[in-house]
Structures are given as structure tokens and as C-alpha cells.
Subunit: 341 residues, 6 copies
């Protein structure tokens, strides 16, 4: 039987300009739905797990379309509460070469940001579950959402569910001070922590090294020092980060680093021609969770997660629509892209 | 020189499903911008007047796109204040036959709904203007917006500007009680009042006759009684309404009625094969205002307005993109639709 | 809890030319999936029942896309067996006015046509089910498929499941002789029989009246005589047919007739401006089954089914994406198509 | 063996706005190619004749695309001379309801308008041909084109080729005076003359009756008087006209009238829901020529031509893509538009 | 006069997802037609030869569309037999970066796979022809197709037609054993043999060197040993292969090797940014055949073929739509891609 | 207050094939409008200046659409004269890799080419202006256009307006001899001269060095010698050129060189993944003019112009839709293309 995993967060309507059009050129928007934890859930469905996405969406046709979109890709939507006023939106303009992609958020007052404890029965939600994943976005949505996240974490722990977090700092949602206050408290429930230097500093206060992300350079040493501090303070089982080298909006380098408290392991690096990089980090989390649930050791898990998320960059939309077989072909060394007949 | 006219209200992002797709089938949205008073302004630009649209839009690329869209069709955007959080949205699904079109609003907390008196200098705005038009939607957006509308009306009157209103009751924005309280006060500044029976009842409290709009029948007698009451109470120069006969979502009958305090005049009726009926009422207001500014008598003005707005139903988007010549061909009796080479 | 209903048949890839393009003009095909019993299942999901679609689809990405498409619209796909060589296809060119729509089938050797008893566990499938629906297409697919249908019917009866059939004669799949031999045998399991005159003659041998379908005239008397014979021979609880008046490819009249062995009831008739008429009959069956499961009397059930299927003609694709509320608005007399805000 | 028929004229690039968009809304143009005599040639290819289109097109990729477009639909392009500066263009905006379709021509200085006698070897062109068709547009393109047309007609007659003309007056190309001078001279070569009242008056000087085309009324008596005069003066074998009743841009009545010098025959009338009416007249000429080449009597020929051209109105683009079988189904009375499976 | 060349094989309907969409994201398919030998024929038409494509297609509109598509690009379709049940299909999903393109075949029971000797008159087909080309796909379609190929080859030889083959092993169609048995027999008619190492091993049994195609490395030495064996055994005039270096699905290296029994010549290598690589090999064969028919020496022929096929990778669809001039510009060293005005 | 700048030239309808389609594959054209000086005007509007575009366009809907397109992006169209026969057209096919982009012009007899002095009141046009820009295309359009340009320049000088030119030699419009005769005379009014080696030779007769543009190599020394000669002869304030290295149609190197009579300054070089390179040079001129009007020194101005025009290559259409902030981010060194949220 497939294994129950739970993710909780916001799913937004994503409106993106087609091709490389700028917002003020667009006469059409491509319509899809996505959001950190929903994206993770879809990855898990593709790998054969049984993911449940916990959220709230309005009872109108836009909310229904978001539900349908999740169902289409195999996510169980039974725990999505219906009500509230609106579906959050993000507008996306794809960049190219030296022109960066641009995201405009319009997510205030979304249904999940205004949800309350009455909307969810966390005991049933975590009954029989093996894993719970959330990101730093969920508690940042509103004070109420932070409470919800904390209650979910308590219930998860009560049911012995392993917990992962993707720190994902969003400066439009809260200040570093607000983030730190909430996130530090939530970390006590977390087993696996994913986050880059900026996230680690802004949400947990760990001082980053000298890495200048705009230079596209990596400073592994900075990470190692931070990971050790994190492990020490929160006793995470694993601390993990992806390492993106932004050569341009069209080409990126992509690898990851994991620390098990004992050893640092730096994955293979992929050079990627980008189709759509939104959701890249979520697909990494999805690959990692699947691999750990599946019983892979932490190095194999990291290689699976990096390969899976490298492939995400070639797929349009937030969701990573690849199978275990496809990822394993890449993990096993075939990056040739030869036609499969 | 062309004549300055002013309209004030909200312009929204309009997201509509292509073809006759339902919301949960859509993978693309057609993108345009529209809103009652903006639509009127575009009509006036097409007829050669010099319309200024007064509103507030955020400084982000979505707000900029709305500004660009107005400019493209000849509307002066100098009085649009920039700031605030979001552009209001309405989602549109086009109906057909017995399946009605569906509008889902997501307009709360838009920039104009949160605008304040500091955003506008009404003295300059109405300097040299000949006409001011607003609808019942604008004061319904928020308490602040109601104040703004009242201040605009005062300034308009100070500058001897003729004022028209389209009552346009929106039940999602306020209750009949709220509407009546505000709208009754505003009516003292109005010269030309446009509104159907439902609007007259919900925003001004005039009791409708027995017209059952879902039956698609017209009861002119009910209208006549209401128009007389309205004229008496608010001393409007003209009271006007369009008369829509909804045979189905695909076919409508369309005519209008005007009362000058003396005589009722019922226009020619058009049977319309509908392409896009949103903005039909606004295009009627635009046709009427143009005709009155242009000095037509009230019957000719009504025929122009009805013909213009009949044509709007054949044009996609909120805006009525027809010229005076095109409207006059129809007014003059050629509804044959023969190819013009 | 929602009620389990089961439908069994083929779901095909539907490739249709956009707009009104002819096949040899098309540079793109619109892609969706559909088939009689799948279409019925989607209707039932929209009305809040819990439909399971039984079929077989290949393990390749085209088969997976069909599965995803069903899931998206709420159909349970747990009983879809995976394997076989291909997904059946139908090509569709939409007609207009006097030019008929055209369907080209390419469905031979599809996975479900080559499925065997090993692919399904009918005991679990019908465990707890309330209704089973199939059409005359399923047993026509292959000899093996006819056997499968018979086994399904036996299992359904064993579990006290009510059974409905839509006779749906397909001349490309079998001869009237073949149809009669198989279908007559299957009728003993059927409670509710849907079928027009042509179906009744070709699949069961009941002699049609003088109705000439190309004339677009209805001969209710012919139907009444046939329905009586059908009721007598097979002891159906209800005999039902839709009555289509083909004025042209763009406009049809649409009503239905039901017979409960006692009384004939002819529904309200709708005149429809057609968007997509494929799946019209299936949406009727879906409306009827829902209504009967829901406990409506047979006249109310017929009115719901006719209204629901009239609406289907305004929706693109095979599936009828309307809610109970939307159908009831039409049943209750509002066919005005006025915009719903 | 299939029969050689020749048509001569201009083929233009056709740029049309998608849907019902107005020119100043369009971000895309649908691209196809068409023109009176090219459209006739495509009809003839669909009916199994072997049509050759005589014209001149530039050697650039736009000219090549026009050639390819003709080949695709079975027209022989061996007699198309290559050279000259440009492909003529017409912009098309589809009307709806009371809004007429609009054509903007940009055809001056096209390759065929500047072609000379050196571009064509009319002796080979008419070697073995059975029929030659041209329209009043060809000689109107330029003085040189008028000469070319006359030389073609002489060669046709030398080879005993039957000649038809579609008078097709185009006011943007020449004045009635210029038209009359040229066309009267060319009529001596013509066997079958197609043209409506306006054409007959503007190109040949026959006084129309009181028909007011914008009223959508038919005055058969006026036509009869004109046809008699035409027959008398030019000794045509047949005089023919289509009769369009323009109810609106969306709906037309469509029939035709033929006169063999003895008897007037008025065809069956079709009421058409229009998809694309451009090329309607050309498809009528194509149907008539095919029928006469095929040996049908003049009444059957007229019925075929009217049915064929009625169907053209349901097909997008200039070309009529229907087969003999499809037309005959309609001629034989089935206008029901029922799905053909 | 242009020179008659003949190719024989299958033309399939190609259904590809737009952009880089995965199959289960696609709501539209781009529609075109292609297949090895048809693709070669189109190349030859672009270079000014007179290609005839021999195949069989059903009499339905899908078959007709394939015929029209060939005609559009200048291929003579007189020898295409009409009949049979279906047009073979291949579904295509374009890859990017490390995600490979994916082809799903659905070609069983296509008309050409079920064609028989009665469908073709090879004596007329090869009358006056200069060249015949086929690929290893044609005899693999069915036993009957293998016979057809052999008869075609006999007739070709009888008419002194030069013969080329592209070995093209397709593992979905036959086993290496079946391939070897048939292909070895057919090789006796062949003058020019094109095939890579895998083809040479699977269809003719020549043992490949250690080249591991997934590594994207080239081992010219392995090829040289194989080419010598092939030349020796079958006495080919030329043995040729393309050499693809798959850096990723987005970027490839591309060159070719030819052996005239005396000398090995390795062409210039191109690094290609890929738009659509399907049909790359066919465009190489087309370039080679044209060059040899045109009388180029084998080295110049190879350079033309490599440049032509490099350009194919930048063109969407199966067909290589480039002219001799365009290819020669590249052969002559201008790969700068500067805008041509 | 924003600063008035004037540009004068032709704006054309741009018809481009979507994706990388070749002309003879296209069923749709993307529609936009552009032309050297119009493109410059749009750049200036984006940077906050107040640009006026001087031209002539016909009174038909295509001309109106061009006007609307300019307005949309903030260009003042008050000085566009209306009349004349046609809008000039250019067809564009985007290249990729080694396949070059292709432009087919159809611009003869456009309204601006046939405009006369009566169409413009240069005194009002230059009243209050700070800058005037034109290119070598404008005087090349026709003899009349050359006269117009000269009159404009005289008026500009009378009003003390700074003048810039982009030499832009177009071989389809005039010969080097014609160009030299006219352009040399016009140079006396010019302050800032932009042009590459080919332009300098063909329009002004300065002998280029050995740079072979097809090799993609740069020879700065050749430029330096030419710039000195140009400065000497015409006493330009600045001589400027962009330096394009065409690696392929997909990837270019991009930098620029400026000479102030004293010092040569070579900008930073960008390697660009190209989305649309048409208008690249115009966006450079736009960036340079803005910077000089804004008071930047000539080196900073050059860096701004190069960065701005590098970004243009990532934007579809002729217009460069970037803000000062976006350009400055790149100038300041962030070319990482990281997502901006």
C-alpha cells in the first residue's frame, strides 16, 4: 500500500505571461496553480506515495479549479477546507539571459491566510501518516496561520510523524524579526531542515558567510559552519541546502549539500538550460522526502533530490512531473537527452 | 479642440476563459482591463472627445499594464494616482444558450478602494471639463471611496460640469440600505440618471413594477411610473434606462427608454447575436454622453446610445471600439452586416 | 457519505480541430479524453456522487493522461487496469449550420477492447455500489469485451446493484445481427433502458416507426409503440429516450420521453445554440442516474436529465461540467442566460 | 483522366483577426491566401477536376507560401510566373450581428498587377483545357492586367475553351466608366456570366431595378429584366446570380437565379449561420463550373452550386473545402447537420 | 527538367506537445505529418528535384490531410495508394537540457503496414527515375511490407535506378534477428548505405566498437572497422553515418563520416542549439542524395548533407525546409546567423 | 516636468512567424509595430522622457492600430499626420543556431514615404524640444522623405535642439552613391553619430578596415581610424558604434565603442541568449540619448546604452520595454538573472 504523507500550505493561482513576454505585453496568461507545499505533494504523488495537501480554498470556481488541478496530478484533496474569500495569486514573467524573472504577489487575505483551527481536524489528518512537510511560507501568511502550523506540528509529533521544513524566507510576508520569533519555536518539531544561507539568517538568525548570491559563487565553507550551528541548536537529523549558481536567467548550475551531524556530502552538479525554474526548490524537497521515506541513505537521497529538481527546471508550471524511473536514469549518469522511443 | 470629459472609478484586470470554456477547463485566460467608468472613457475617446479617467492603481507592473491599456485606446491617464496594494480582478466565463455567463469578483482592497483625498486634486481635474460621469460602483467600493465620490461631485458642480450617473447596483459590494443612504445624497449633484428597475429600487428605493427580469419581458409601464418619481424627487434632467430582453446567453433584445420630464421616448429595438455582453451598459452611457455633449436632442442621443451599445455586444473585451461613423450607419438603418470593402 | 456508482467502458483520446476548421486545415488539435461511460461518470462526480470508472488503459503517457483527466474531474480511477497497446482515438471536426460534425474513429485494438477477465475483480468493484451503467458500445468493442460486460452485469446483480444501459448502436463496431445477439442477452440484467429508435431497432430489433431522423421531426407515437414492446419483453423499470430535432449543426431542439410501464411523460423542450454536442446523450444518462439515485420521481428525474444535457451542448469537450444548482436553475425555469455576478 | 480547367487572377495574402477581434485589438493575424479565381480553382480541385491557376507571384518566401498553399489543396501551380515586388494583401475583420465584416485592401503594385505578356505562354496554358474562368477583378488590377486578360481570352477561344466570368465589381480598383469600357469588350468571349445587380450595373451598365441591398430584400423581377438584356446583348449561354439576403453579419439567406435564355430557375434557399462568408461567391462559381463540366443540366448545376456555396459559409478561409459527396447530401435534402460517424 | 526520385515508406500523423509541455500537461497537440522516407522526399523537393513518395493511406480525412501536407511541400503523391484502416501515429514530447525527448508510437495496423503488391505498379513508379531511397523502417512494418520493399528494389534495379538505404533500426518494430534476416537480403540492391553503429549491429550484425552512445563520445576507429566490413560484404559504393554528440536534449554536436572504399572523410562538425531534432537523420539522407544526383564528389556531398541536416535541427516539424542557397551559405562558412534583410 | 524629445521616421506593421517557424509553415503571424525611430521613442518613454514620434500613417484601421500601439507605450502621437495609402510592412522569421533570421520588406509607397512638407509643422514640433533623433532609413525612403528630413533638421537647429543620427544603411532602399550624396549633406546638423563600419562606408564613404562581419570578429583598430576621420570631417560631438559578435542566431556578444574626439571608450561586453534581436540597435540609441539628456558623462552613457540594449535582446517585439531601474541593476553588475520577488 502506498504511504500517507501530509503537506500543508497555500496553493495560489499562477498567472504567467507566455513566451518571454513582459507583463505589459501580455494579452493572455497561462493559468496553473502552485505553491511550495502543494508542489511537494505533487512530486510525492509522481513517486508513488499518497500525499494529502492541507489547505483552505474558497467555494467559488477558482478555488474549485485549484482543487481539480491537484487531483489531476494525484494529490488527495480531502483535507482541503472550503470557504473564505479568495485564492491568492502570483503573477510570473519569465526572464531570459540577463533579464531576471519577475514575480508579483497578490496573496493577502487568501482563504488559507484567514483559516482557523476550526477548519482542520489534525488528529484525522495525521492518523497513519509517515511524514509531514511545511515551509516557512505557511506560518508567515498570518498570525492565525502560524498558530495553525504549530498545532499541526504538535499533532504530527503526537502521531510520530517525521517532520521536514523548507525555511523559505519571504520578505514580502514578514520581517526577519517576526520570522525568527515564530520559526525558532517551530524548529523544535522538525527532523529535516532545508534552507539556504539567506533563509537560515532571516528566519533563524544564523549568520551567513560571505557568499554573495548575485555573484553566482558558492562558498561551501560558510554553509558548513552554519549547518553545524543549526544541528547543534535544533538537533535536526539532517540539514540540507540546494546550491544554485545563477549564471543568467537562462542557465544555472545546480547542486546540493547535506549534513547528517557527522559528514558533509556535496552532490553532483548539473548545468541546466532553464525552461521554468519556479518550484525548483520544492521539487528538491519532494525528491528528498520520497528518498528518505523510501529508505535511501542520505547521500543517495541527496543525489535523487538534486537530479529530480534539476529536471524540474525543464518543465513548465510549478509542479515537477517526473517519475522515479526518469530521475534514476539521470542519477545513473545519462544526461545526454537522447530521444527515448 | 476636443472636449474634456472626466470619469472616475475602478479599472480591474479582467481574466476570461477563452471560447466558451468553464473556469475549471481553462489553461489560459484572456487578459484585458475594464470597469464601468473606464469603459465609458474609452467610448468617449473613440468618438473624438478627450476623456480623463480618475482612479488609483498600484505602482507594480499589473497596475502599469492597466494604465497602458487605457492609453492605447486614447484615454488620458494623467489623473491616475499610483500606489496601493493591488489591482482588483474579475474573472469571466462566457455563457452560451441557456448557460449564463459567470463573473467572479476579487476586488476587495484594491488601490482605488483604499485611495484617499490626498490622491487627487479635484480642482485641476475638473478645470475646463464639460462632463463628469460616475457609477454606483465607485462609492460602493469603500467608505473612503464614497467620500471621494462626493468630493468629486462637489468639485464638478463648482466648475459647472454636467454630471451623469449609472446607478449600477452591485450586491457584492453593499446592501440596499447602505446604497440608499449614500446614493440618495449623491443624487443631488446629478443631471442625467441611468439605471434599470433593479438599480432604482436597490440604490434609491423606488419600488419596481412587476417586471420579472428572468422572464425577459418588458414592462414599460412600470418604468414610466418609476421615472416620474425619480424626476420629481431628484430633478434629473433626463432619466434613462436600457431594456434588455434576455432570450438566452447568446441572443438578447436591446433597446432603451428616456424621459425628459415631459415625454417618454422608447428607442428602436435590436436583436443581437452576442459576442461579449460585458460593458454593454457602459457603452450605452458612453454613447449617450457623447451625443448630449455633441448637442444632439434627447431622442437622437438615445438612438445613438442604443445603436452604439448594440454594437458593443459584438466586440470582445469591456471596451466599445466603434467610431461615430459606424454607429451612425446603424442608426441610419443599415443593420445588414454586409462586408465593407 | 457519497454514494458509489460504477460505469464501465472505453475512454478515448479526443482530437478535435479548433474553431470550425476542417481536418485538412488543422495545424493543431484540441486534446481531451472522453467516451460514453466515462462521460456519465464525470456527470455523476459533478453532482456529488462517488463514481468509479472501470476500464483498461496502456501504461504509457497517453494512457496516464487519460487517467489524470478523469481524476481531475473527480472520477475514481482505482479500477482502471493498466496494460495493453494503445488508447483508442476519435477525431472530431465541429460542423456549423448545414455542414455536419464529423467523427473519424481509430479505436481498434485499444487496451479495453483487448482486456480480459483477469484485468478486473468485479466482486470488489460492485461491493457497496448502488448503480451500474454501461452502454451498447462496451460489448461491441470485441468478443472479449462482450464477455467482460456480461460478467460485470452478473456481479452487479449479485450485489443488488441497479443497472442502466444506453443502447448506443455504433455501426462501425458491429452489425445489427451481432448487436442483437449480444444485447438481447444483456438486457435481462437491465433496469433502466435508454435508447432512441435507431438504437432500439439495430441493437434489439424493435421496428422503428416512420420517423425520418434527417427531417428533424419527432414521432412520439412511434416511440410509444416501441417502448411498450421493450417494457413487455425485458421488463425494464423505465424506458427512456432523448428526442433531438436537428435543425442544423448549430441549432437543435432537445427533449426526452420516459415510460414507466404506465404513463408516458414528455419533458419540456429546449432550443439550443450548440457549442459542442458530443456527449449530449451521456450527460442525459448522467442526469437521469443521479436523479434516480437521489430519489426523485421519474418525471422530475427526466426534467433534470433533459436540462442537464441541454446545458452540456454549451460546454466544450465530452464532459458535462455543471452543478446540481446550475441544472436546477434551468429546471426551475430560468433559461434567460443573464450574467451571474 | 481528370479534366484541365484554367483560372487566372490574383492570389493575396489574407490577414484576418482571430475570433471577432477588431483590427486595433489584434495581437495575431490568422494567415491564409486567397482571391477570387484561386478560390474557384481550389473548389474545382476538391471536385476532382485538374485546375491550373495562372498568376504571378514574387520569388520571395511570401510568394512561395502562396504557391505552397495552392498546391496543398490540389491546384496545379506550373503556370504561375515568379517575379515582381510584392504579394497583394487584404486585411479582414470578421463582423457579427449588426457589425459588418471589414476588408482593408493593400494590393497595389502586386506582382500580377505588374505582370506582362512575357510572363505567360497562353498557348500551352489552354492546350487541352476545357474551361477558363476569370473575374472582373483581374482586368481591374492594372491596364497591363486588362491586356493580359484579353490575350488569355483570345487564346482560350482559339483552343475552344468554354469561358465563364464573375463580374465582381471592385470600386477600389476602377470606376464604373473604366470597368464598362474594358468589361464590355471582354464579354464577347464569355459563355457563362455570373454577376449580381450591382456588378451588372457598374461593369456593364445594365440598370438595376429598385432592389436596395441593405434592406436584404430580393427583387427577382429586377433581375429577370436585367438578365434578358444581358443575354440579348452578349449572347451568353447562361446568366447567373447569387441572391444574398443579409439579415445580419451572422445570418444570411442564400439562393441563386439562372437564365438560359428561355427559362428562369430560382434555386432552393438556405438560411445560413455564418462562419466565414468571404469566398462565398467564388465557391458558387466553382460549383457551377464543375457541374457544367460534369454535364449536369442547368437547374441541377445551379442547385449544386448553391448548396456548395452555402457550405462555404461554414468554413474558415477563402477556400471551399467540401467534396462532391458532401454537397450532394445537402442537395438531396439533408441539412440537419447530424453528426457523421 | 527536374529529376525523378522515388522514396517509399510510411508517413505518420505527428502529435507533439507545444513548448516543452509533458504529455500529461497538454491541452493541445501540434499537428503535422512525417516519416523517414517522406521527410527525405520533402528535402529533395526543396532542392529542386522531383520526388515521388510511395505509400498507402486510408481514404478518410486524416489520410487526405497527410497527402495534402506532402503536396504543400512539393512532393508528388500520385503513387500513394488509398485504402486501409488507419494512419499511423507518433506522439512527441520535446525534451530540454537533461530531460530527453520522448516518442510514443501508435503505428500498428496502419494502411502501409497492411498494403499488398496490388497497391503499387512498380514498373511505372520506377520508369524514368534516377534514385530510390528507403529505410530499415519500411520492411520492418510487416511481413507484407518487407515483400513490398523487396519488389520495389527489384523493379528499381531493373530500371537502373541508384538505391540508397538508411538502416534505421527500430526496436519496437522487430528484433535484431528479424531485422538481420530481411535487411541482409535487401542490401544486395543497395548502392549507398547510411547507418550508425547501432543500426549496423542490429540490422546487419556488424559488431560495434566500444562507443557508448549515452556518453556522447565518438569513436571513429570503431566506425572505420565496421565500414570496411560493410563495404566488403555488400559492395556498397558509399558507406555513411552521421555522428551525433548528445551533450543534452538542448545542445548537440553533429558531423558525419563517409567511406568510398578507399578513403574515410570526416566532415566539419557543427554545434547546434536544438529547436526540433526529429528528422535530422532524414534531412542528412536528403542532402546526400541530392548532392550525389547533382554530381558532387563524395566529400562535397557529405559537407552539404551535414550542413543541411544541421539546419534541420533549427526547424520545427519533421521536414527540412531549407533551400540549396541556404545550405551553401553554411557550407561556405557563414554560421554567424546574422539577420538577412 | 518631463523633457520633450522628437524622433522621426517610419513605423511599420511587423508580421513575424511564431516560435521558430519558417514563413511557409506559418498559419499565424504575431502582429506588432516597429521601426527604428519609433523604437527609440518607446525606449525614451520608458525612461521617463516625453517622446514625440513624427511620421505619417493612413487613416485606415491598420494605421490607427500603429498609432494605438505607440500610445500604449507612452509615445505622444500628436505629430503623426494621417493620410496616404498604406502602412509599410516587414515580415520576420526568427532564426536559431546557424539558421539566420530573415526579414522580407514590403514598404514601398507607404504613407511616410509619400508624405510632403504640408504634412508637418516643424516649428511647433521642435518648440521646446531638447533632442531630435533620426536614422539613415528616413531619408532613404523617398526623395520627398529626404527633403522632409532636411527641413526637420533645419528646424531642429533653429530651435537649438541637439541632433543624433543612427546611420543605418539599408541596401534595399538606396545605393551607396545615393546614400552618400544625401547623408553627407545631413551630417552637418548632427551632434551625435551612431553607426557601424558598414554604415560608415555605405552612407558616408569612410573606408572600413578589414573587419569581416560574418566572422564575428571585432577590429577595434579599424573603428578607431574611422571614428577619427568622421569626427574630423563632421565635427561630431560623439561618434559611437555597437559591436556585435554573431556567434550564431541564438547567441551574440554585445558591446559598444564611443569617441569624444579625445578618448576611445570600449564598454563592458555582454554575452546574450537571444529572444528577439530586432530593435537592438535602436534600443542602444534610446539608452544613449536618455543618458546624455539626463546628464551622464559619455562613458556612463555608453554603459547604460549597452546594458539597456543587451536587455532588449531578451524581449520580443521591436520595442525595448525596460525601466531605468532594471537597466541600472545590470550596469551595476548583477547579470545573474535571479528571480525578483
Amino acid at each position: 500500500m502506498s504511504k500517507k504523507v501530509v503537506t500543508m500550505g497555500e496553493i495560489m493561482l499562477r498567472l504567467s505571461t507566455p513566451g518571454y513576454k513582459r507583463f505589459n505585453q501580455a494579452e493572455k496568461f497561462d493559468v496553473t496553480y502552485g505553491g511550495g507545499e502543494a508542489n511537494v505533494a505533487v512530486s510525492l504523488a509522481n513517486y508513488g506515495l499518497d500525499p494529502y495537501f492541507v489547505s483552505k480554498l474558497p467555494g467559488n470556481p477558482i478555488g474549485q479549479s485549484a482543487v481539480n488541478h491537484l487531483r489531476r496530478f494525484g494529490v488527495n484533496t480531502d483535507y482541503i477546507s472550503r470557504g473564505g474569500e479568495r485564492v491568492g495569486i502570483y503573477y510570473l514573467e519569465a526572464g531570459a539571459s540577463m533579464r531576471p524573472s519577475k514575480v508579483v504577489y497578490d496573496r493577502a487575505n487568501s482563504a488559507i491566510a484567514e483559516a482557523t483551527l476550526e477548519d482542520f481536524d489534525f488528529d484525522s489528518i495525521f492518523e497513519g501518516a509517515e511524514w509531514f512537510h511545511f515551509s516557512g511560507i505557511t506560518p508567515a501568511l498570518s498570525k492565525e496561520a502560524a498558530k495553525l502550523t504549530e498545532e499541526a506540528l504538535k499533532a504530527a509529533k503526537k502521531h510520530n510523524v517525521t517532520v521536514s521544513v523548507d525555511l523559505n524566507y519571504r520578505k514580502k510576508l514578514w520581517t526577519p524579526e517576526e520570522a525568527k520569533e515564530t520559526m525558532s519555536r517551530l524548529m523544535e518539531y522538525v527532523d529535516v531542515c532545508i534552507g539556504n544561507e539567506e533563509d537560515a539568517e532571516k528566519t533563524l538568525g544564523f549568520k551567513p558567510g560571505e557568499t554573495d548570491v548575485t555573484k553566482g559563487e558558492l562558498e561551501l565553507d560558510g554553509y558548513k559552519s552554519i549547518f553545524k550551528q543549526m544541528k547543534e541548536k535544533f538537533n535536526f537529523k539532517y540539514v540540507v541546502t540546494t546550491l544554485r549558481e545563477s549564471y543568467s536567467a537562462s542557465d544555472n548550475g545546480w547542486s546540493a549539500l547535506i549534513y547528517d551531524g557527522n559528514e558533509f556530502y556535496h552532490s553532483r552538479k548539473y548545468d541546466i538550460r532553464i525552461v521554468d525554474r519556479v518550484g525548483g526548490g520544492d521539487s528538491f524537497a519532494g525528491g528528498l522526502i520520497y528518498s528518505l521515506v523510501d529508505g535511501k541513505d542520505f547521500k543517495d537521497a541527496l543525489e535523487f533530490a538534486v537530479a529530480a529538481s534539476a529536471m524540474k527546471h525543464t518543465i513548465s508550471g510549478d509542479f515537477n512531473l517526473v517519475s522515479v524511473d526518469e530521475v534514476m536514469t539521470l542519477v545513473n549518469g545519462d544526461a545526454s537527452g537522447r530521444v527515448q522511443r
